[in-house]
Amino acid sequence: EPEVTQTPSHQVTQMGQEVILRCVPISNHLYFYWYRQILGQKVEFLVSFYNNEISEKSEIFDDQFSVERPDGSNFTLKIRSTKLEDSAMYFCASRWYSYDEKLFFGSGTQLSVL
């Protein structure tokens, strides 16, 4: 079965540093998402991306966050100046077309901000 691939699986960074989390969505998918899960809490929506632009973002997704699809295969989440509270598991997800319900998640990147 096709997979959403995320790298790295773990990332440790110092507060104030920039991090880029990388994702390779399933190849024919058109809609891309980032979610995050703080330890022991529920999964939260961050942002959705379609046709090279953000289609919706949550209150969490402030000016410190940005997303990009730099080429035909990668989808990245950048945090410009990390805070302690950014420590979480970040999941990339993708789906095929507009009314396709099935959302595929990657295995996540565990971000630890020290």
């Binding site: 809609y31 998402y33 529920k42 959705s48 919706e56 949550s58 099935k102 959302l103 295995s107 996540g108």
Partner: protein, 113 residues
């Protein structure tokens, strides 16, 4: 109004028993209700989903029951197995627009052999 409330937080069931997890939602615009299964170190994986035009959907040992008037839905796992031990999340979304999922808090299910 966007919340999805899930209970219980944790559940222990004997092998062969029935596991039941409940969720309630507030936003009547939601029209898609999936359940996700998550194993440690992995991302959520879609288990089963339902739309509000039916009251029940069954796939193998997994059944979703949906009560539109009460704004509640539940997951039933029949003949629970140790391999079912995982965290289960209910979620809800609209099928219009970005289709962002609103997740419940999760239920850690343990099946004792």
């Amino acid at each position: 109004q966007q919340q999805v409330k899930q209970s219980p937080q944790s559940l222990i069931v004997q092998k062969g028993g029935i596991s039941i997890i409940n969720c309630a939602y507030e936003n009547t615009a939601f029209d898609y209700f999936p359940w996700y299964q998550q194993f440690p170190g992995k991302g959520p994986a879609l288990l089963i989903a339902i739309r509000p035009d039916v009251s029940e959907k069954k796939e193998g040992r997994f059944t979703i029951s949906f009560n539109k008037s009460a704004k509640q839905f539940s997951l039933h796992i029949m003949d629970s197995q140790p391999g079912d031990s995982a965290t289960y999340f209910c979620a809800a979304s609209t099928l219009q627009g970005a289709q962002k999922l609103v997740f419940g808090q999760g239920t850690r299910l343990t099946i004792n052999p």
